[in-house]
Symmetry: C2
Subunit: 350 residues, 2 copies
Amino acid sequence: MGRGVITIEELGEFGLIAAITERMAAASPGESDWADEGRVILGAGDDAAVIEAPDRRVVATADMLIEGRHFRRSWSSAADIGHKAAARNLADVAAMGAVPTALLVCFAGPATLEVDWVLELAEGIATECAAVGAQVAGGDTSNADAVLLAITAFGDLARRAPVTRSGARPGDVVAIAGTLGAAAAGLDLLRADSELDAGGALGGLVKAHRRPSPPYAAGWQAAQLGATSMIDVSDGLIADLGHVAAASAVRCELDSARLGAEPIAQVAALRQAAARLSGAEGGPEWLQWVLTGGDDHALVATFPPDVELPSTWTVVGTVAKGHGIAVDGQIWSGAGGWEHFRTQLLPVND
Amino acid sequence: MGRGVITIEELGEFGLIAAITERMAAASPGESDWADEGRVILGAGDDAAVIEAPDRRVVATADMLIEGRHFRRSWSSAADIGHKAAARNLADVAAMGAVPTALLVCFAGPATLEVDWVLELAEGIATECAAVGAQVAGGDTSNADAVLLAITAFGDLARRAPVTRSGARPGDVVAIAGTLGAAAAGLDLLRADSELDAGGALGGLVKAHRRPSPPYAAGWQAAQLGATSMIDVSDGLIADLGHVAAASAVRCELDSARLGAEPIAQVAALRQAAARLSGAEGGPEWLQWVLTGGDDHALVATFPPDVELPSTWTVVGTVAKGHGIAVDGQIWSGAGGWEHFRTQLLPVND
């Protein structure tokens, strides 16, 4: 074969699987800061994989990414989509306080898709895994009209209890690891101008959308520190911390000044993005992105007030009796998103 | 709400998840012949599930089912699709010699889909799981134009080594648990007449396509008996046993007379199906279905010759030096499917 474009159809299913396996192995050097050795006892090539579960429990989470809904091939490279697909599942594992160990990857795509595109996707997935010491343990390929990815991620709790959504107690502090708002602002910039090729601050926001950097290690750090609850911010802080408040039967009270400080929010960049999108100087929209933007995959956790938090974690509020989420003393009523929030600010009286 | 048709869009994502969770819980009584208690430590409702892995390892397998490619809503009920989707993953776990413990289910479908259809699907999945003592531990829902399912199944090896594809040795016997050919014949009957509402033998074949009954318990039984290799027949006996032959660097020699005997092949039913499809008395096509038809999810395993096999397992051949698959002394050349087989029968000389 020459160096022309080769499609999935030309390579065939078994050829594709062999090529994916080879590319993923090259991208997973089998060493990392988190694991001394591989966690996959038996990998691709059998009916099922066998994965280590050192403490007799395995953390597992799965989700599906669908072209046109969760990503667009014209807006992100194959490698970016791979990194992001792995990241959202690995972040879910980290949000339980677990160290990711392995991934299973189901891929479906059109027969006319270029093999190189699939291999870059596979490499992106494997590279994101390798950064936390996890490995791709196997998967499945199918034909489909659009690109579909279904990823299952596995993790090890290292004998700790899982950090769930339901343990927040009045008096706890609310803290964030990672960034908020950048990915959502980047997505809005691409929606307005899909050809956007910005450097500088705006480029950083677009990059945050294309390839988020979840603070994985902060997840198991939080568990070690005694976090009472934790969640990965994938649908926006208000929505996801709202799940914690509901599951814990508490109110979470946030301070926008703390949310707007580095390292959580890049307010200057967000203001610049708002200005570009509105054509005028940015107003308060930066806070919209920080409160409701998902996909940065920050972690939000609650800790007992006496826990001394390392710099990874920034306190942004407190847990109180009641329910729902309050921002600067105003209850977020829960439905309708940002516009609703702006027009329906209610006093804290329930 | 009245008793009219309710769509996913009307119920909303959280309502749908709550309804699915409720339906699945009702279908999983939490007791079975295989497990005294649930294997799911933490189920749906958090970023990830926590599943028991009693021997510090977990068997895991995932695949994707796509409407129009793996199933048709007009040919199978939602419950049938659910049973089948769970069965193909549970059979992969059993083929490793492991007892299934849990499933994660990612579901995507159009917003206009009836909620009742989704709930019947969920019930089918949960009921198939409950039959082997496994539980649905969580999942994910998305929007998509067609129905998509991605299922991950988990299993426990109970301190045994996994039974892989690579351990078959010359001198071993080849044995089958379950049925072969019925699902493929049923699918061909539906392809010819999608309105087919046959009872009797033909109805049994259609049912085998819609809702296969993998011999799950034979999987861990084989591991206990010392099986040297095992695989789930999902793509056809020739293809799947071919994976065993390749991974083990051996030849597997099959005897069609033994394959054609009860309980493996329902030859009378297959002949009746062939006659209906050809309009004449059925010829040897029954063997085509038995050798190349997938989706019954039989298990094929190799055992040392001195192992006394229970009636679950029927010996159908032997393992020899060489490579590939031979049927009645003729090598199956590997490519091109049944027509190729019929016209290209080669003497055993390599």
